[in-house]
Subunit: 144 residues, 2 copies
Amino acid sequence: MKLSTRTRYGVRAILELAENGGKGPMQLKAVARRQDISAKYLEQLMAVLKSAGLVRSVRGAKGGYVLARPSNEIRLSEVFHCLEGTVTTVECVQDAECCQRAAGCAARLVWAQIHEAIEKVLEAATLQDLIDKARARGAVSYHI
Amino acid sequence: MKLSTRTRYGVRAILELAENGGKGPMQLKAVARRQDISAKYLEQLMAVLKSAGLVRSVRGAKGGYVLARPSNEIRLSEVFHCLEGTVTTVECVQDAECCQRAAGCAARLVWAQIHEAIEKVLEAATLQDLIDKARARGAVSYHI
DNA sequence: TAATATACTACCAAATTAGTAGGAATATTA
DNA sequence: TAATATTCCTACTAATTTGGTAGTATATTA
């Protein structure tokens, strides 16, 4: 049960934007360089973050990407969801209809518990929280 | 972040054995039929469960598989681990060495929290717990 | 208009996951 | 001991997902 690089890269990228906050749009290329991610691949991830309304883009010269909202108003759960898709580990957790026996299924209870536990953790942290914690530790932050 | 069918099938299969408890070895073919899993594929999963010491096999006519221990002594965490591999969502959670900045990484804290939350849920349930809950609900049980 | 960025669409390659095939080994039954 | 039932083992294949590339269109600035 591994997290895709898609999500890992995406989180790193948006945290980079969060750190850059206020300094105007940050170019994709710069994010890619600092995070050591293929620029072309990151382009796709940015598109996802954009269509999810988490970042805004500025086209043309001096363009780039900025957070669509302050970093303390973006929860990790949002970032996670739009990149990784649902947290769902098993389909029936969200959609009981997909299995006739779902209603009384014990295993499903476990998957549901796991689901909730993950959501809870993701819901609890904003981008700013992460940056603060990282700074408090004197770290280069957000690296995954 | 989806659970592999490998894990889902494996859990269903071992729960089938748990339900069958005491009635002697249950044939792979029977498990496959009842759970609607390809027998040939299940064969591989059983091999995994066997090498993990969770089930025992009996060869030859009237052979089959049985739980290696009572169903109330097998935790879902064990089943999960041997099938899905580690719960780890991101490498650095287990192996801080894999990333120079891991020590002070805020994102890593989140991944670690998720990791722990999942383990906790898996650790809390034994196979028998699941069967009991399912029976209490009057369900066909364990179906995923 | 030239230079600099993102936007969009399509494609490709590697890795992983899911599933198949066939026969060898072993135990039971008769 | 012969026939049969069953697990065991190895290899192969197919489908899906993931990660990454290429090229062109479009918008902005200077």
